[in-house]
Amino acid sequence: MGSKNIKRQKYSREQQRRFTAMLLIIPSIIFLVGLIAYPLVKVVIDSFRLVNLTNVAVSGFAGFENYVKVLTNEHFQKALSNTVIWTLLSVIGEFIFGMITAVALNNQVKGVGFFRSLIIIPFVVPVVVAGLTWEWMLSPDFGIINYLFEKIGLISESVNWLGEKETALLTVTFVNIWRSFPFYTVTLLAALQSIPHDIIEAAAVDGANAPKRFMKIIFPQLKSVSMVLIGMHLIWTSINFDYVWVMTEGGPFYATETLPVQIYRYAMKQYDVGAASALSTMMIGLMTIGFVTYFYIKKVRSKSEGIK
């Protein structure tokens, strides 16, 4: 009894509460430090070091040598532009398809539940399965896509969609859109359902037609969720590796090579961890600058709007 009193005097209730709270967050901190902070710091450090897995004689401080190597790689600019095209087209396509299907599925018609379930299928198919299936479907020799397009007269002879430099990147982007737009559909559909119906009805009564109702009432209500969706997908798509690798491995002749594929090649084919780390650090840096700038501009705008 006496010892308990002493304990009470030693730690106040507030201190005990904080102690428990800190104890409970320790596992999260351990995982954050071990699985995110440590690898991140290691990548940045390695980007300034000479690290080659097959040639241990090459080691030590490299300064900016790895960065120079990456920037002067004859395929770097192509990979950078491919990454920008792949990311922007994917996100724009996903958003447009997602919005159209979300609006369509928001209507209370017969069988809408079935279609809502059906549309999520591409998103739950594993990337490797989807990639390989599309690869076979797009094959110029026995793919069903060429067969159908020839039958309906869209093309006169088979097209090697993934094998021609002119079509490969757009084809992989299309497949990525096909797989990812259901995520937009589901998210936008949830947002659409939260818009009070009486506002839309009031606008209709006031004479606003469907496009006007969508642009003036519905679309502004979806702005916040759309920005989050687009922001997330800009990151996810630009760092995506698996789709491109499964379908084309960056080919034909670098036509679909993106920066993540180039990082993989440096690390796992050339065993040049220093160069891979330099390119990774550049990607992290570019994305951080992009998002910090975006949020800064947003903050400045909202402040100036507040003053007005």
Binding site: F31, L35, L53, V56, P140, G163, P252, F253, M268, Y271
Partner: protein, 430 residues
């Protein structure tokens, strides 16, 4: 409060340490259940369900029964996964005891310091004399044997005899010139393509090294100092020979001997097209035997012969190794298990057609038909090939996709190979 902060800091550091230790030593935790009982981690590249895999598993189960203190934990992976897991595993100190691999990886993994030197073990092994010396040589670097030949197979020309006969062609082309002439004729008469090739994937450099050998050139020659160098740009005759290989690729496409889509075909597409009779000939390995059961109608007319050549007959000889890793905690047991995998009994039952053993014979076109070609077989040089195979794929793309001049491409490839050798620290500057 200071004590509290110190306590939490200590807990945090302990946690991080435990996390890192558990990441680095995953192999140990999967190990031995009882005292004296040993679990060997064994990574394989077979496809689950294939006949060889089923037979192998039966024999391995039998091995476990005969050696009750040994458990074999088999992980079935594809070759790409094995490669990437081995590269990261060797770096992180977390590797299996034994693993399948490809000949192209031998110098790469050895350069990372991952492979056990098996010279001593094999020299004392009674069965050594029954293993093909050429296969052992292909896995020897700086006089050290760093892998055991598990499968050995030359590439042969497979021919759909009926497809040729149906168009009145009675002779299988023996040289590149004949191949181009007959292929062109075949396309004009049938609208189909005669020959198969790959423009991408692991197969493309393998095909290319066979063509280089047929012109009498190497992609990396060993110097007296034990290092390597591509000498095409130092020697006009070699450059001319290498140029002929790239010109041959262009001729195949321009004369419609191969399908233009083959520019980006990988090995799966090429093999499927041959097995289904899309074209009449392909240089390929004896794993195509499996297609006799999946495509019985189209595969029944297949014969095996020497690939068409430029200057001299030659072909790619693939030696697939089993590696034992330096970081294995049970090297003796791993070596004993490897001996079992290379034993006559195991090889006869599992892979008599592509065995490295000289005393195992399969008297069929898939066995002896391929084995006879071993004499003209060439393998990759014992240098890190990771980037060089990519250089070779790029050179091929320059020629058949970009239509660049063969001589310029040969010069470019020579420079790139030397750059790759320099990065790996094995370039001879002499």
């Amino acid at each position: 409060m200071k004590k509290l902060t110190s306590f939490i800091t200590v807990i945090l550091l302990l946690g991080v340490s435990l996390l890192l230790i558990s990441c680095g030593k995953a192999n140990e935790s999967s190990g031995d259940k009882n005292e004296g009982e040993i679990t060997l981690e064994y990574w394989v590249g077979w496809s689950p369900g294939e006949e060889n895999a089923i037979e192998s598993k039966k024999l391995i189960e039998q091995y476990e029964k005969e050696n009750p203190n040994i458990n074999i934990n088999i992980q079935e992976l594809n070759y790409d996964m094995i490669h990437d897991k081995l590269v990261t595993g060797i770096t992180a100190g977390d590797v299996p005891d034994l693993s399948w691999g490809l000949g192209e990886w031998v110098a790469d993994l050895n350069g990372m310091g991952g492979l056990m030197d098996l010279t001593g073990y094999v020299n004392e092994w009674n069965d050594k004399e029954n293993i093909q010396q050429s296969s052992l040589d292909a896995l020897t670097i700086n006089d050290k044997l760093v892998g055991l030949p598990y499968q050995t197979g030359a590439r042969a020309l497979l021919v759909h005899e009926n497809m040729l006969k149906d168009t009145g062609i009675n002779k299988v082309p023996e040289t590149w010139d004949e191949l181009i002439r007959i292929g062109k004729e075949y396309n004009e008469n049938t609208g189909k393509y005669l020959y198969g090739m790959t423009g991408t994937s692991v197969r493309a450099p393998q095909e290319m090294i066979g063509y280089f050998a047929q012109q009498g050139v190497e992609i990396a020659s060993e110097s007296e100092n034990g290092k390597f160098r591509n000498t095409w740009n130092d020697n006009p005759k070699e450059l001319e020979a290498a140029t002929k290989v790239f010109a041959f690729y262009q001729d195949l496409i321009e004369n419609k001997v191969v399908d233009p889509n083959a520019k980006t075909w990988d090995w799966e597409t090429a093999d499927t097209n041959f097995a289904t009779g899309t074209y009449a000939m392909e240089v390929v390995g004896n794993w195509m035997q499996e297609r006799e059961s999946s495509n019985p109608e189209t595969m029944k007319d297949v014969s095996v012969t020497v690939p068409p050549y430029g200057e001299e007959p030659a072909t790619f000889l693939e030696v697939k190794p089993i590696f034992i890793f330096k970081q294995s905690e049970h090297p003796e047991e791993a070596w004993k298990f490897a001996q079992f995998l290379l034993s006559k009994e195991f090889q006869e039952k599992v892979q008599s057609a592509n065995t490295p053993r000289t005393d195992v014979v399969e008297d069929t076109k898939w066995g002896n038909g391929f084995k006879d070609l071993g004499e003209i077989g060439v393998s990759f040089p014992p240098v890190p090939m990771g980037n060089i195979t990519k250089n070779m794929e790029d050179a091929l793309a320059k020629v058949i996709q970009n239509n660049e001049k063969p001589k310029e491409v040969a010069k470019w490839l020579s420079d790139e190979i030397n750059k790759s050798l320099k990065t790996s620290g094995v370039l001879s500057e002499d």
